[in-house]
Structure formats: structure tokens, C-alpha cells
């Protein structure tokens, strides 16, 4: 058609108009027929959301209840794949691990969550800090609950970590090949206590102030590095250059100590502890999963290689 009309101006114009008309007609027609068809298809598609592109891009496998999918559900998830796909049938028994490692970790997550919320209301400076806590207690919606939860979760975490260590000891789970992971655990224990201790000062009240004073006064007596410790004088230690000064950023528990406490509590130690936890969990897997409940060994088998059960 375009060839035919290209000779005359008039014909050209008519052709264009017709073409536009025809085109519009076609468009309208397509709206009428295609759109309902597409809509139908869309609605059909929604009946099974697991087939949508968005869904399949998020979940990498189907969720039918097959052994394969159960395993994939764990393995293809970055958080869950800390677990193996399958474990010893008795390892899920509460009476063996008491769930204490997991509870410790869960409390750490609760503490991170409530701790970040508390940080929104807290300034680590003298006078202001105490006022912020009062403000939290009396004016912030759920502020009191938030503060209580953070404090009690911290106490619970200390208890849980002790019980976890106790169970690991009683089940002999530090024995070959888990010696190294026990050591990571000891470091985690230390950092858990230090986390709790650095947080104690932050409300800047009498309780925290005197607890931290008592605690850090001991650092004065560090051999060689404290000004009251054995050989401290010989190393030219004074209240203004010893380890205690370094910990507190001053010779008394004051504004600098508050700031240092805050930074250790909210940034330094949590990062170190998180890294150690990652290593800890990684090693639990690499060392062959949790240690038991394992088949019992008889005394005469002690020095023989373990028989495969």
C-alpha cells in the first residue's frame, strides 16, 4: 500500500489516515481480546504462586513433601544450612544437649534486637545517659519493657552459656576432634561475660558505677602493668598510665569510661563475639555435627580404634 500511494500527495495523505484508522482498530480489538485472555492467564497463574518468576527466584526448589525437598529446604538456605540435611535420630533429644547452645544463640539475637532499639534512645555521655534511661522508663512507648527484656535476656544468656559449657563437659564433647571448638567456646564465654559487664555501667547509676569501680580496681593490681600490683613500681606504673587507665580512659570511672564501655558493649565485643559464633557453628558441623548421643564405648575398647556402629 505504501508503494502505491507514494506517487501522489493526496493519495499519500489518505493512505496514512487509513493506516492510522486501521491500526487503532486493531489496537482496540487487541485490547478487547488479548487483555481478558491475559487476565485469565494471570489469575490462573496466581492459583499456583510457586510457579511465578518472583517465587522461583527466591526459593530455589519445590516444597512438595519429598525427602529431596526437605533436604534442599535446609541446604539452599543461607541461615539454615548451618545445619546438615539430616542428623542422628537421637541428636534431636532435648535431654542430650538441653538445647542450651541454641538458646544462648537465640538470646544473643534477642539482645542484638532489643539493644539496637535501646541505642536509638541512648547517648553515652554523663548526665544525659541517666536521663535517657529515665526517659525510656517513663516516656518511650514500651521503653520499660524494652529495657527489662534487654537486661533479663543478658542475665539469662550468662546462665545459659554456663549450662551449655556444663553439658558439653558432662558429655565429654570436648574430646577429639572437638578440642578446638571447646576453646572457641571458652573465648565465647569470656566475651559473653564481658558483654554483660560493659553493659552494666551504661545506665550510669550507682549500681553500675560501683560494680565497675570494684571490677576495674582489680586491674590496678595487675602484676607489672598496674600501679599497685607486684613489680608495678619497677615498671614505672602510676594511676595515670597503667592498664586501669587504659581500660577506663582516666584514673576514675567517668565520662571516658562511659564512652569506652559503650563502644565495647555496642560495637567491639558484639562483632568479635559474632565472628567467634560463626566459627563455633562452622566447627560444630566440620567436626561431624554434635557429638552424640553416641553409642557407649566399653572400657576394653578404650585404646582400640572405634568400631563402626
Amino acid at each position: 500500500m505504501a508503494e502505491e500511494n507514494s506517487n501522489g500527495k493526496n493519495g499519500n495523505r489518505v493512505g496514512l489516515l487509513e493506516r492510522v484508522k486501521a491500526g487503532v482498530k486493531e489496537d482496540v480489538q487487541s485490547l478487547k481480546t488479548d487483555m481478558p485472555a491475559k487476565a485469565k492467564e494471570q489469575i490462573e497463574g496466581l492459583k499456583d504462586p510457586t510457579k511465578t518468576q518472583v517465587y522461583t527466584s527466591i526459593f530455589r526448589h519445590k516444597h512438595d513433601d519429598t525427602p529431596r525437598n526437605r533436604a534442599l529446604g535446609v541446604l539452599s538456605n543461607v541461615f539454615l544450612h548451618l545445619h546438615p540435611a539430616k542428623i542422628n535420630r537421637d541428636a534431636v533429644r532435648y535431654s542430650y544437649t538441653w538445647g542450651m547452645g541454641g538458646i544462648t544463640f537465640y538470646l544473643f539475637i534477642v539482645l542484638t534486637f532489643t539493644g539496637v532499639l535501646l541505642m536509638f534512645y541512648y547517648h553515652p555521655s554523663k548526665v544525659q545517659a541517666f536521663r535517657d534511661v529515665l526517659y525510656l522508663e517513663h516516656d518511650v512507648p514500651f521503653g520499660k519493657l524494652l529495657r527489662n527484656m534487654h537486661r533479663w535476656a543478658a542475665h539469662l544468656m550468662v546462665i545459659a552459656v554456663w549450662l551449655h559449657m556444663f553439658r558439653v563437659f558432662l558429655t565429654g564433647s570436648y574430646k577429639k576432634p572437638r578440642e578446638f571448638n571447646w576453646n572457641i567456646g571458652v573465648l565465647l564465654l569470656v566475651f559473653t561475660l564481658l558483654l554483660s559487664f560493659t553493659g552494666y555501667l551504661l545506665p550510669d547509676d550507682q549500681l553500675g558505677f560501683w560494680a565497675v569501680t570494684v571490677g576495674t580496681n582489680m586491674a590496678r593490681a595487675t602484676p607489672m602493668l598496674g600501679h599497685e600490683g607486684p613489680f608495678g613500681k619497677a615498671f614505672h606504673m602510676t594511676p595515670y598510665n597503667d592498664v586501669r587507665f587504659g581500660l577506663l580512659g582516666g584514673s576514675i570511672v567517668d565520662a571516658n569510661a562511659l564512652l569506652r564501655s559503650y563502644i565495647w558493649h555496642c560495637i567491639g565485643i558484639p562483632i568479635v563475639a559474632s565472628v567467634l559464633m560463626i566459627v563455633h557453628f562452622w566447627r560444630v558441623r566440620k567436626d561431624g555435627g554434635i557429638s552424640g548421643p553416641a553409642p557407649v564405648m566399653l572400657t576394653e575398647e578404650a585404646d582400640k580404634p572405634r568400631r563402626a556402629v
Binding site: I87, L170, Q206, M218, A221, M297
Partner: protein
């Protein structure tokens, strides 16, 4: 009997976790003991019946041929973890709604708290301040605790009892750990919380805290008892006593250990054996020093110009 005083201590918000920890600890010791007993019975049975030992699945949990040895993490483990998280959250919520976190007056360096207590999880170390100088109680002991925990997997050469609860196969290891954890750590915390009052004086539970009570205790040093006066002689005398303790105690431990733990003794290298001896004797020294102090009012055993023990 001052019930009010007792209640005041037990219900101080920061002491509630300790009050809660005690029954929890009993419960878990019971749970561990129950499983240890069952396992020990099974071990005994299998040791007298070699035919059974060959075929038995060697756990106290039921198992039948044809049962799967492993279960899927999803759902069998994850549902437990999920449930545990929910239970912990509920407990924490209820606790946080019913009990308020403490907040004292703003920090005031001029107004000493009496008693000024460290956070409860460090009260064991604070209690040690009564019996030892701060450089020992505050610096050396925490260091030794951490190192001591860390060396456990490397000095415990007993391959038995890995991955199951047992008492019979690990009497020495479990006994030592229980002594350290329950007697030297938890019991000291309980003393620090419930018994130490103003001036860090000893008040029996139910005894009223008397802020004006003075105790005239004449503390002596061990060399004084023997009429030793010159500093040099005191130093030498103390070194002999402390050295003698380690030598005689070490010999005693040796005599018992090689008789009652012949297999462990044979397996251990010289280094492992010496480290074990050192930590064991240091641990046992604590109650000895406590007894010397509480019963005989002896402050120092070893006096030198640089440090006193």
C-alpha cells in the same frame, strides 16, 4: 530470723537470676545423672556379656532394625528450635513484664555503696578478695580459669565417655570439674550474694544487715605463728611452705592418680601430667587458704617485699 532481710536480698531484681539458676542447676544435674546412670548400667551389662556387646546398638534409647538412623533436620530439628525460641520469648516477656530492671540513683563517686558488689557473675572473684590480694583474685585467677578451661581437652586423654553421659568411666574428670564449677564458682557466687553484707562481712541468711557492725579480727600471718620476724626469713619460710604444699600435694595426687587412674596415667605425657597437677593443686589451694583464714585467722602465708600470698 529476719525474714524481711532475706526477702530483700532474694528479691533484689539483679539477684533473681541467681535464685532462678539454683533450681535450674539442680534440674540439669539430675537430668545428666539420670542419663549417666542408665548408660553406666548398659555399659556394665555389655561388659559382662560380649555376645550382646557385638550386636547391641549401644544406646539407652530404643532402636529397632529397620528404623532410620538419621532424621531430616526439617522438620524434626527445626520445629524443636522454633518451639524453644517461642518458649524462651514467652518466659522472657513474662519476666520483663513482672520484674523491673533496677535503676539506682545517678552515679555518685562521693557516695559509696555499701556493700559495693560486682555483677553477680563475678562475685566468686570478689569473694576471693577476702582471702587473696587483688592481683591474685582479680588478675591471676581469671587468667588461670581461662587457661585451665582451655587446656582441658588437651590434658584429658581418656577416650571414654565422648558423646554420652557417664560417671563410671570419667569419675576423676567429672569430679574435678564439678568441684571447680559448683564449689569454687557457683557456691562462691551464692555466698557473695546471700551472705556478704555491709563491709563485706559474713551475715547468715536471715541475719539482719547491721551497717555499724564492727568485727575485731586479729589476723596473723603464718610466719608470725612460728615467731619469724626478719623479712628475709619470712620470704624464705613462705617459699618453703608454698613449695612444700606443691611438692607434698603433688606427691599425694601422684600416689592416688597412678593407683586409681592407671590407664590415664599411662597415656599422659609428662607435660600433660604436670599441667594437670598444677591446676589441680592450685584449685585445691583455694579452700585450704579459705579455711586458714576463716578458722585460724591467717592472712598471709608467704610474705615478700613485692607480693604476699
Amino acid at each position: 530470723m529476719d525474714w524481711h532481710q532475706l526477702w530483700e536480698i532474694a528479691s533484689a531484681p539483679d539477684n533473681v537470676p541467681i535464685v532462678g539458676m539454683i533450681p535450674l542447676l539442680f534440674f540439669y544435674i539430675y537430668l545428666a545423672w539420670k542419663q549417666a546412670k542408665a548408660n553406666d548400667e548398659l555399659i556394665g551389662e555389655l561388659e559382662t556379656n560380649p555376645a550382646m556387646a557385638k550386636t547391641h546398638h549401644r544406646k539407652t534409647w530404643p532402636f529397632r532394625p529397620g528404623w532410620q538412623k538419621e532424621v531430616h533436620v526439617w522438620p524434626f530439628l527445626l520445629r524443636i528450635e522454633f518451639l524453644a525460641a517461642i518458649i524462651v520469648t514467652i518466659v522472657l516477656m513474662i519476666w520483663s513484664i513482672t520484674l523491673y530492671a533496677p535503676l539506682e540513683e545517678p552515679a555518685n563517686p562521693n557516695l559509696t555503696m555499701n556493700p559495693a558488689k560486682a555483677p553477680w557473675y563475678f562475685l566468686g572473684l570478689q569473694e576471693m578478695l577476702v582471702y587473696f590480694d587483688p592481683w591474685i583474685a582479680g588478675v591471676v585467677m581469671p587468667t588461670l580459669i581461662i587457661i585451665g578451661l582451655m587446656v582441658i581437652p588437651y590434658i584429658d586423654t581418656n577416650p571414654l565417655g565422648s558423646g554420652y553421659y557417664t560417671w563410671k568411666q570419667r569419675k576423676f574428670a567429672i569430679g574435678t570439674f564439678m568441684f571447680g564449677f559448683i564449689v569454687l564458682w557457683v557456691a562462691m557466687i551464692i555466698i557473695g550474694t546471700f551472705i556478704r553484707g555491709p563491709g563485706w562481712q559474713w551475715f547468715w541468711p536471715g541475719q539482719t544487715w547491721d551497717h555499724n557492725r564492727l568485727i575485731y579480727e586479729v589476723n596473723r600471718d603464718l610466719p608470725d605463728l612460728f615467731g619469724i620476724t626478719s623479712n628475709l626469713a619470712k620470704g624464705i619460710f613462705g617459699a618453703i611452705v608454698v613449695g612444700g604444699y606443691f611438692a607434698a600435694g603433688g606427691f599425694l595426687v601422684h600416689a592416688f592418680f597412678r593407683r586409681y587412674n592407671p590407664k590415664d596415667y599411662k597415656r599422659m605425657s609428662l607435660l600433660q601430667y604436670s599441667i594437670m597437677q598444677f591446676f589441680l593443686l592450685t584449685m585445691v589451694a583455694l579452700p585450704i587458704k579459705m579455711a586458714l583464714r576463716l578458722a585460724l585467722h591467717i592472712k598471709y602465708v608467704w610474705i615478700t617485699p613485692w607480693f604476699n600470698v
